[in-house]
C-alpha cells in the first residue's frame, strides 16, 4: 500500500502551516521529513495518519493494505504515549483487544514482538520502571504488534540520550532489513535522516513547502559512519536547513 499527498495545504486560524505539499510514499521505503522547528512536520504526519483533516488537498491510500494488517497507519510518538497503569505486556495487548483475536493469538503476537524488541524479560514491568529507551522500544513493539502497512514516526528518538539513540537506530535498521516496512520518519537530526531515509524531504520554514527531495540509493545495511557519499548528502541537507533556519530567525526579529 502506498500513500500519496495531493497538494495538501493547511492553516490554523490565520497561521498558514503547510502550503501545496505533494508527495509519494512508496511501500517498503522510509521517507524522512526534515525542516525547521514549527514548519508543520508533525501536522503533516497527523494528516497522513488520519488524526487531522487537511484544509485543502487530499491524503490518499493507493492500493489495499495487506490482509493480516490490523492497523494500516500506525504512529510512534515522541513521548512514547504508554499507559502508565498497564504493564509492558498490557500496553501491547491494548491495541489487540479490539480486534477479535483469541487469547492464544494475542499471546503469540505479544510474545513475538517483545522478543523482536528484546523486551521479553520485562513483560510485567510498569512503564515507570523502564528507562526512556526501553519505553520507546515498548512503543515500537506495540506498533509492530498491529502489523502496520505504514509506520508514522514523529521524532521517535529525540527524547533519548545519544547512546540510546544509536542503539535504537541500529534496532530500527535491523528490523527493516529483516522485514522491510514503510515508514514516514520526522526528525530534526540530519544524521538520523541520512542513516534511515531512502528519500529525505526538506521542508521550508513556515508555511512549510517542499524545498527539495533528496534520494539516497545506498542500502540501509551498508550505510556506515564516515561514508563519504553520505557525508556529502548530509552537508548538502545542512546547507538547505541552515538557510531556512537563518531566514526563520530573521523573520522573528522583524515581528
Amino acid at each position: 500500500m502506498d500513500l500519496k499527498l495531493d497538494s495538501v495545504s493547511h492553516s490554523y486560524g490565520k497561521t498558514e502551516v503547510l502550503r501545496d505539499i505533494s508527495l509519494d510514499i512508496a511501500s517498503g521505503q522510509i521517507v524522512c521529513i526534515v525542516g525547521p522547528s514549527g514548519c508543520g512536520k508533525s501536522t503533516l504526519l497527523r494528516m497522513l495518519g488520519g488524526l487531522e483533516k487537511p484544509g485543502a488537498g487530499r491524503v490518499l491510500q493507493v492500493g489495499a493494505p495487506p490482509a493480516d494488517c490490523l492497523n494500516p497507519l500506525t504512529f510512534i510518538f515522541q513521548d512514547f504515549a504508554l499507559l502508565p497503569w498497564r504493564s509492558v505486556q498490557g500496553n501491547v495487548s491494548l491495541v489487540l483487544e479490539d480486534n477479535n483475536l483469541s487469547t492464544a493469538e494475542k499471546q503469540d503476537i505479544i510474545g513475538d514482538v517483545l522478543m523482536r524488541t528484546k523486551l521479553s524479560e520485562f513483560a510485567d514491568a510498569l512503564p515507570k520502571q523502564l528507562s526512556g529507551g526501553m519505553k520507546q522500544r515498548v512503543a515500537i513493539a506495540r506498533a509492530l504488534a498491529v502489523n502496520p502497512a505504514v509506520m508514522l514516526m514523529d521524532e521517535p528518538l529525540s527524547a533519548l540520550d545519544s547512546q540510546t539513540r544509536e542503539l535504537l537506530m541500529d534496532d530500527l535498521i535491523s528490523l527493516w532489513t529483516r522485514q522491510p516496512f514503510t515508514a514516514v520518519y520526522v526528525t530534526h537530526n540530519l544524521a538520523e535522516a541520512v542513516r534511515l531515509g531512502h528519500k529525505i524531504v526538506v521542508l521550508s520554514r513556515r508555511p512549510g513547502q517542499i524545498r527539495e527531495v533528496v534520494e539516497i540509493d545506498t542500502p540501509l545495511a551498508e550505510r556506515s559512519y564516515g561514508d563519504v557519499a553520505l557525508e556529502q548528502k548530509q552537508q548538502h541537507l545542512w546547507g538547505l536547513m541552515r538557510d531556512e533556519a537563518a531566514a526563520a530567525d530573521a523573520e522573528l526579529l522583524h515581528v
Partner: protein, 264 residues
C-alpha cells in the same frame, strides 16, 4: 600558610513529604494529656471542657447500655446509602460532562448554581418531597456528596493526557475502549481525591440531617446532649464523628495505594 579545609555546607533537602509514623497520634495524646491535667488541677474549669477520662467513661456506659450501636447503626447506614447514591450519580454525570460538550454546556452552569447552596437549607424541601423519615436524609446526604464529586470528576477527565487518547484513536480503538481503558483509569487519581472531600461533607450532612428529626443516630445523640449542656456526652458523640472521618480517609488512602500503584 595552608588553605583552610572545610566541608561544603549542605543546603539541599526538605520540601518533600516523608512518611512519619506515630507523630499524628502523639499530637492527639499530648492534647488529651493537657486537657486531663488542666481539668484535674482546675486550670481549666469543668464548664469549659469535659475531662477526657469522664468522656471515656461516658463512652463505656454508652457501649455497655447497647445504646452505642442503636445510634451508630442507623447513622452508618444513612451515610452508606446516601453517600453511595451521591457519589455514583456524581461520578456518572461528571464523566458525561467530561466526555460530551453538549452535556457540559448544559450542566456545568447548573452545577455551579447548586454548588454554593448550603444543602442543609434545603432539608425542609426534601422533607416535603420525600417524607420525614429515611428517604429525605438519604437525599440530603446524596445531594451534598453529588456536587463536589461531579466537579472533581469532570476536572479529572479534562486532565487525562490527550496524547494518550490520540494514541488510542491512532490504533483504531473503539470509543468504548478509549473511555474504559484510557479515560477512566487516567481520571482515577482525581476522582479519588474528590471522594475524599465529598465523603467528609457527607458526614457533616449526616449529623445535620439527624439533628433535624431522628430518634436515633449520632446527630440526634449530640443534639440531645447539647441541649442539656451535657459536655461529656457531647464530646463522646463528637469523638465518634472524628473517628468516622479518620476511617473514611484511611479507607480512601488504602484504595489509592492499591489502585494507583502505577503512579510515579
Amino acid at each position: 600558610m595552608s588553605d583552610p579545609v572545610r566541608n561544603v555546607p549542605f543546603r539541599g533537602g526538605g520540601f518533600v513529604a516523608t512518611r512519619k509514623r506515630g507523630v499524628g497520634l502523639l499530637v492527639f495524646i499530648v492534647l488529651l494529656l493537657f486537657a486531663e491535667w488542666g481539668t484535674r488541677t482546675g486550670f481549666i474549669s469543668a464548664l469549659t471542657l469535659p475531662r477526657p477520662t469522664d468522656v471515656l467513661l461516658t463512652f463505656q456506659e454508652l457501649y455497655q447500655s447497647g445504646l452505642l450501636f442503636k445510634h451508630l447503626v442507623p447513622s452508618l447506614s444513612r451515610l452508606l446509602i446516601g453517600a453511595t447514591m451521591g457519589a455514583t450519580l456524581g461520578i456518572t454525570i461528571g464523566v458525561l460532562i467530561g466526555l460530551f460538550s453538549l452535556v457540559r454546556a448544559g450542566l456545568v452552569p447548573l452545577v455551579a448554581a447548586i454548588f454554593p447552596i448550603p444543602k442543609i437549607a434545603l432539608l425542609p424541601l426534601f422533607v416535603i418531597w420525600f417524607g420525614i423519615d429515611e428517604m429525605s436524609k438519604y437525599a440530603l446526604i446524596a445531594f451534598g456528596t453529588f456536587t463536589p464529586t461531579v466537579v472533581a470528576t469532570y476536572a479529572a477527565v479534562d486532565n487525562v493526557d490527550r496524547t494518550l487518547i490520540r494514541m488510542g484513536q491512532s490504533f483504531g480503538l473503539n470509543w468504548r475502549s478509549i473511555v474504559t481503558k484510557i479515560v477512566l483509569p487516567g481520571a482515577m487519581p482525581g476522582i479519588l481525591s474528590g471522594l475524599r472531600i465529598s465523603l467528609t461533607i457527607a458526614i457533616i450532612l449526616l449529623v445535620a440531617a439527624e439533628m433535624l428529626g431522628a430518634e436515633y443516630g449520632i446527630g440526634a445523640y449530640i443534639l440531645q446532649a447539647g441541649s442539656l449542656y451535657d459536655l461529656e456526652r457531647l464530646f463522646a458523640g463528637v469523638v465518634i464523628l472524628s473517628v468516622m472521618g479518620v476511617v473514611v480517609s484511611a479507607g480512601i488512602a488504602a484504595i489509592e495505594r492499591r489502585v494507583l500503584r502505577w503512579r510515579v
